[in-house]
Amino acid sequence: MTTTLSREQLARLVAGDIAPGSFVNLGIGQPTMVSNFLTPAQHVTLHTENGMLGMGPEAVGDQIDPDLINAGKIPVTELPGASYFHHADSFAIMRGGHLDVCVLGAFQVSTTGDLANWHTGAPDAIPAVGGAMDLATGAKDVYVMMSLFTRDGTAKLVPACTYPLTGVGCVTRVYTNEAVFLIDDDGVRVRETFGLTFEELAARMEIPLLRAG
């Protein structure tokens, strides 16, 4: 591709990478957009940590029911085959390693897959963690969706996170508008780039990058 991806293109790319039949949790914000691009043929089941499997699209009009919301407290719908359960059972699904994929936003990801996405560390910030640590630690695969660079051009895929951690060594893929990165024991591999070459990308980052297989 010759240009960086739009947010929609990135969401579509992530959606297409989710294996058929997967059980998936989409974090609040940008990751939620992935659901717009999942196809019925994929048979992906969405989990929301406030107690539901089989979550459908956002509710509109008459569908809105105050007792049926997602983790972002947005009214949603129920699909055939859904189930409800209490909070400990819901987090047991996450923490017990039963989700195939969770997709999360991030402030920073390290070359060893450490994730920082809950707290800026600013001394006057009121911290709020929610289910982020459970998702990061529990899912079989943790995909991060984020912009690769901060406004001042610093890469957010870093040698070591400077923000407070959400989880250690948990991120397996990073989806950005400029490139997709795979993280494993060998390091960080660039699966594909958008709008710039591997060399151009490497020049803008502080970490060693491996070329796709």
């Binding site: 929301t48 940590e49 406030n50 107690g51 539901m52 029911d65 105050p66 007792d67 049926l68 919301i69 997602n70 407290k73 129920e78 409800y84 359960f85 209490h86 909070h87 400990a88 819901s90 987090f91 047991a92 996450m94 923490r95 450490d114 707290h119 006057d124 910030a125 009121i126 911290p127 709020a128 963690v129 929610g130 289910g131 982020a132 640590m133 459970d134 630690t137 529990g138 407070p164 951690l165 959400t166 989880g167 250690v168």
Partner: protein
């Protein structure tokens, strides 16, 4: 034995200063609004509140915090767009915050109800929320030791109760209700409907009556619940 209270005021009358109060709900879903308002009227002080959040807007838990009744809150997600009352109390240093990952919060409450003395979990390992906590490597993976969170009282909202206190909930309003009912010395539950004993299908009871001490019917305009008799 189960008490069926006539009003929310009656239901919360015995809550004492210094109590630890588990409050159900995740956002608006399952929030026992009328019980919280009755607790505000009732006047108990120095409360420790356990809830996923730290109040929204100006009512309910936010009002309880605003009235200076909450000494400490144990929650996973205090900071929200409309948590201004908590935010102000926190910045003023008038409320103590114990921030707990949501899954640890749920599991710690569940542990209290289930008689577990403590457990090791990977969640939070290597983060600032595990600072000062015991850790252990189990099967090569870092774990943090977490302890039970029991309540003196739980305030919960369910859909329907029968006259022995069996409960069913509605959709994602179930959330913390079942585990909080089990973890509190006294569980006070507001329901939309009370049905005769025998009308809830025993296969579908979510919270058995053994966990429920007081119920009060508050008509909140929910659809009538399905019961066994109507279903068959």
């Amino acid at each position: 034995m189960l008490t069926i209270a006539d009003t929310a005021e009656q239901a919360v009358a015995d809550i004492t200063d210094g109590s630890t109060v588990l409050i159900g709900g995740f956002g608006p879903a399952g929030q026992p609004v009328e019980l919280i308002e009755a607790l505000l009227e009732q006047g108990a002080r120095e409360l420790v509140v356990v809830n996923n959040n730290a109040g929204n807007g100006e009512t309910g838990l936010a009002a309880l915090i605003g009235a200076g009744r909450v000494r400490k809150i144990i929650c996973s997600f205090p900071r929200q767009s409309d948590s201004q009352i908590f935010d102000a109390a926190y910045r003023a240093g008038t409320i103590e915050l114990e921030l707990v990952p949501q899954g640890n919060l749920a599991e710690r409450i569940r542990a209290a109800g289930a008689g577990i003395g403590g457990f090791f979990t990977p969640t939070g390992y290597g983060t600032i929320l595990a600072e000062g906590k015991e850790t252990r490597i189990i099967n090569g993976r870092g774990h943090v030791f977490e302890t039970p969170i029991a309540g003196d009282v739980a305030l919960i909202k369910a859909l329907t109760a029968d006259r022995v206190g069996n409960l069913v909930y509605r959709k994602t309003a179930r959330n913390f209700g079942p585990i909080m009912a089990a973890a509190a010395g006294k569980s006070i539950v507001q329901v939309s409907t009370i049905v005769d004993t025998g009308r809830l299908d025993p296969e579908n009871v979510v919270t058995p009556g053994i966990y429920v001490n007081t119920i009060v019917q508050i008509n909140t305009g929910h659809p009538e619940p399905a019961t066994m008799e109507e279903n068959q």
